[in-house]
C-alpha cells in the first residue's frame, strides 16, 4: 500500500513538472529486469518469443476441422507404401511421414482436416496426430508462402547474427514472423538447429572436430548463420528443401530476390572462400595423413 501511495505521489509530481516525467517513469518501472523485458519486447518484431506458432487451432476460412481433405490418388499410393513399413498394429508410427506427405501435397502446410484424415488412416484419435504435428516445428499448421524461409535461432547461429538475418528478412518482406506476404510467395519462420541438434558441441574450436569426425551432415552450425528454404512452388513432386549458410543481411535479401525471380540461388555456403563446411580459405590442418594415436601401434593389429 505504501509503495502504491508513493508511486502515485511520484506520478503526480511527474505530471506537475513535465521534464521530470521521464525520470519518474523510469523509476516507476517495476524492476530493471522488467524494464529491460519491455524494451526488448518493443524492439523485437516477433509476436511470440518461441519458435513455433500457436499450439491451438483457430478456425479460418482455409483451415477448418469440418473441411474435406483427402490424399491425392498418387499420394494415396505413397501412403500405402509408407504404412507397409510398419506392423499393422503400429500404424501410428506412420504419423510423421504421413504428415510430411500431407504438407507437401497441401502447399507447405497441414490443415486440421488433413490431420484428421491422417488420424483416420492410422486409426488413432485426432489429438494424437495434433500432438505430433505441434511437437515438430517443421510441420506448418498455418498457411505458409510458396517459399517458406526458416531462420535458425539456436545458439551458434544466434551468436553469429541470426537475429539480424531474421530482422532483415522480416523488414524486407514487410511481414511478421509466421505471416505470409500478400503475394503469397514468402513466409518467415524460426527453426531450431538444423544440424543434428549437436549444436551444443559447436563453436569455432569444434570446426576441425566436425571435419575430422566426418560430421559433414548438412553444413549448418559450422557455417552459421543459416536459413532453410522450403520450396513448395512446384508441388509435392518438385519439392525441395535447401540450406543457405554463411549469410549476411545483404546476401539474404539477394537470395530472396533471386527466388522471387524464379532463379535457384546456389545452395550451401554463401561464403566465397569456403567449400562445403571446410574452413574458409582451404584446410588449415590435416594436410597429411592423420597421426595415429600414440598409445596404439596400428601396424600390430
Amino acid at each position: 500500500m505504501a509503495a502504491r501511495l508513493a508511486a502515485r505521489r511520484l506520478l503526480g509530481l511527474a505530471a506537475a513538472s513535465g521534464s521530470a516525467s521521464e525520470v519518474a517513469a523510469r523509476r516507476l518501472a517495476p524492476s530493471p529486469i522488467a524494464a529491460a523485458g519491455y524494451a526488448a519486447a518493443s524492439r523485437a518484431p516477433v509476436s511470440r518469443p518461441f519458435s513455433t506458432a500457436l499450439n491451438y487451432h483457430i478456425d479460418s476460412p482455409e483451415n477448418k476441422p469440418d473441411m474435406k481433405w483427402e490424399f491425392s490418388e498418387a499420394n494415396m499410393k505413397k501412403v500405402k507404401e509408407i504404412l507397409s513399413h510398419y506392423p499393422s498394429n503400429y500404424k501410428q508410427s506412420g504419423i510423421i511421414p504421413l504428415l510430411d506427405l500431407a504438407q507437401q501435397q497441401h502447399g507447405g502446410w497441414v490443415p486440421v482436416a488433413a490431420m484428421d484424415a491422417i488420424a483416420k488412416i492410422v486409426e488413432v484419435a485426432p489429438i494424437r496426430v495434433y500432438e505430433v504435428a505441434t511437437f515438430y516445428t517443421m510441420f506448418n499448421r498455418a498457411k505458409v508462402g510458396k517459399y517458406h524461409l526458416l531462420v535458425c535461432g539456436t545458439t551458434p547461429c544466434m551468436i553469429r547474427g541470426s537475429r539480424e538475418i531474421e530482422e532483415t528478412l522480416l523488414e524486407h518482406l514487410g511481414v511478421k514472423r509466421n505471416e505470409v506476404t500478400s503475394d503469397g510467395l514468402f513466409s518467415v519462420g524460426e527453426m531450431e538447429c538444423m544440424n543434428w541438434s549437436d549444436c551444443v558441441v559447436i563453436s569455432d574450436v569444434k570446426i576441425n572436430f566436425i571435419h575430422i569426425s566426418g560430421l559433414h551432415w548438412q553444413g549448418c552450425c559450422v557455417n552459421a548463420p543459416m536459413i532453410a528454404v522450403a520450396d513448395y512452388s512446384k508441388g509435392s513432386e518438385g519439392y525441395s528443401y535447401n540450406y543457405y549458410e554463411d549469410l549476411t543481411p545483404k546476401r539474404v535479401v539477394e537470395i530472396v530476390e533471386m527466388l522471387r525471380r524464379g532463379e535457384t540461388p546456389p545452395r550451401g555456403t554463401q561464403h566465397p572462400e569456403r567449400k562445403n563446411c571446410g574452413p574458409a580459405g582451404g584446410n588449415t590442418t590435416l594436410h597429411g595423413e592423420p597421426k595415429p594415436p600414440p598409445c596404439r601401434d596400428l601396424d600390430a593389429c
Binding site: 519458435s51 499450439n55 486440421v112 494424437r128 495434433y130 511437437f135
Partner: protein, 744 residues
Amino acid sequence: MAFVARALRRSKPLISSRCPVTVASCRWISPTAAAGSPEAGAAVAPADPELPRPREPVGGARVELPSNSEDALEVFVDGHAVRIPKGFTVLQACEVAGVDIPRFCYHSRLSIAGNCRMCLVEVEKSPKPVASCAMPALPGMKIKTNTPVAKKAREGVMEFLLMNHPLDCPICDQGGECDLQDQSMAFGADRGRFTEMKRSVVDKNLGPLVKTVMTRCIQCTRCVRFATEVAGVQDLGILGRGSGEEIGTYVERLMTSELSGNVIDICPVGALTSKPFAFKARNWELKNTETIDVTDAVGSNIRVDSRGPEVMRIVPRINEDINEEWISDKTRFCYDGLKRQRLNDPMIRGPDGRFKAVTWRDALAVVAEVLQQVKPQEITGVAGKLSDAESMMALKDFVNRMGSDKVLCEGNGPSPPADLRSNYLMNTSVAGLEKADVFLLVGTQPRVEAAMVNARIRKTVRATQAKVGYIGAPADFNYDHEHLGTGPQTLVEIAEGQHPFCSVLQSAKNPVIIAGAGLFEREDQDAIFSTIQTLAKKYNVTRPDWNGLNVLLLHAAQAAALDLGLVANPAESIKSAKFLYLMGADDINLDKLPEDAFVVYQGHHGDKAVYRANVILPSSAFSEKEGTYENTEGCTQWTIPAVPTVGDARDDWKIIRALSEVAGAQLPYDSLQAVRDRISTVAPNLIHVDEREPSTISAEVKPPVKQQVSSTPFKTIVENFYMTDAITRASKIMAQCSASLLKK
C-alpha cells in the same frame, strides 16, 4: 502429505537453530545437518536412534507378497530391508518401506509417465539420481531417499518447476490442497533465481465443470493419461514442445466425459479446478463429512465438504470395491441442487389451488383426517428413488397398518423379481467385474446408468481385451463393443445358439451378463429374465466359483426396496388409489390416478409430483440425514448428515412415525436404532453396514415361465445422464451440462 510433514518435522530444529544465522546453509533438510547445535541435537536424538526403526507402509497399505518366494525380492530403503513382489518400482518399494516419495506425475491408477522428475532418489552404485516411479526395483538395490544428493536433486527439480509457475497461490482454488505448494514447503527455495519473463499459456474451455488456468500447469500429463485411460475420451493431449508445451485439445472441444470432474482431483496443481466451486471457499474452512452418493445405484463413496448450512462441494473417497477413487460428474456436481427448489414448510393446497404454509400439527391433522375417510384398499404408498431403507420400512409398516398392501418403490416395475436377492443384485460385485473376460449387456447402457460400473468395465476391457456384446438401443460406449441387436429377439437367438456371439461366450472363462433394471418395466420381463437364465446355464455363467449373472439397478433406493418387499404393482395401485402417499416419488406415472384422489407429497424438492399434491410434507435430503442405502451389488452403506436440514423439514421416517400416531396407527419405533431393529427382522443384510452380502440361493428354484418375449426393442432408460432425480433436476450445474455436453 506425510512426507512433507516428516520433512518439516525434521527441519524444525534446523530452522529454529540455524536459520537466523545463515539462510543459505539451511536448505538441506536432513537430521545430520542439525546435529551440530545442542538444542537441535536434543530434539532429534530420541527420535533418531542408530538402529533404524521398522516402519509401516504409507497409508497403512497392505502388500500382498506372492506365495512363490521366487517372485519376491528384497531391497533396502534407507537401510531397512523390505520384501516386495517382483515388478514393483523403486517408488512402490519405498512406499512399502513407509517412505512417501514426493511426486507429481506418478499416479497409482494411471500409466507411468516419468516426466516430472520430482521422485528422484539416490540408488547406490548409480551415477545419477534415478526417477523412482519409472525404475523397476532390482534385488538388493540400496535406495536412499534422505541423502543430500536426493534432496538436492529434488530441490533442483522444484526450482525448475517453480520457474514458470505463477505466484498466484492467494487467488488459486487449489491453495491449501496443492501438491506443488506442499512440496515446495519441503523442497522449495525461499527465493527464485529466475529473472526472465515467465511463460503464459492460453486457458482452454473444457466445458461447464472444469476450469482451466493453464499457466499453472506443470506438464505432469496426469489429466491426459486420465482422459485416455480411465475416462476413455481421447480429447486431451500435450501440444507443442519445450517451454511452449501445453495441455489442450488443439481444436475447440469440450470434455464430454461423465468422469471429467476427476481431473480436478488428479491435477497436482491449480491448473484444472472446479468451475462451480471457483472462488467459493477455501478448503481449510470446510467441514468434511464422509458419506455416500445416492444419485445412482452404485453408492459411490464421497466426502461432502460443507461450510455452515451449505454444501460447498463433493469429492470422492477411496473405496476399492466400488468407485476406486473416481466419481461421476453427476455425483460431484449435483450439490447445488441441494440448495434450490427446496421444500421447507408443511403446506396445504387451498381451494384456490395455491399452497399455504401451515404448521406440522395442522398438516398432519389434515392428512390423518383424509386417511380416516378412505377405504383401506384405496391407500397407496410410493417410495421415491432416493429413499433410504429406514423411511421405506416406516412407509411399508404404516401403509400395512392402515390395512393396505399397496406400497411400492418407483422404478421396480409391475412385478419385480423380489423373491431371490440374486435376481436383482449385481452378483459378480463391481470389483469382481475385473475378472471377467466377456460381457453381455442386455438392455443396459452402463455409461449413463452407472458411470462407475462402466469405468470398471472399461478398465477390464483395456487391461485384458475382454469382449463386450451389447443388446439394446444404439448407445455411446467408450470401449470396443459389438452391437448385437436391439431387442429380445437377439437374446433368444443367443440362448438358442444361433448367433455369432455364441462362440465368444462359449470360449469365455468368466462370462458376465448384465441386465438393466429398465427391463423391470417391460411387460415380458419374466420371459426375458428366464431367457437370460437359460443363457446363463448354457454358457456356464453361474458356477460355484463364479457368478456372472447381474442386474444393474438404476436408483439408490431400489435394492433396499426389493429387500424390504415394496413390490406392489404401480399401475393397479395408482388406478385404484384414493389416498396416495408419495415419499419423494416424482417419476411415477400419475396419469391413471383418479381425479378425486388425495395426494400427499413428502420430499425435499419441489419437483414433478408437487404439481399434483394436496399436502406437502418437507423432508431432509441425503446430505442432511442418517440413512441406510443398499447399492446395486448388495453392499449396505450409511449416509452421514453433513449439513442441517432446511427450514422445518424432518427425516422421512420421523414424519411417517408422527403421522401414524395422529392417524391412530402408531408405529412401534421412536429412534433410528429402533427402526433399524425392525429392519433387521425383515432384511438383516441391511444392518451389516459396509458389507456386501452376496446372495447364496441359486436361481434354480424358479417356477417355469409361460410368457413369450415380445419383439419390442429395448428402450434407452436414462435419456439425460445429468438429470435423473429431484436433486439433479434442481441443479443449475447439471442443467448447464445437459445443455452443453449432451449430443443432440
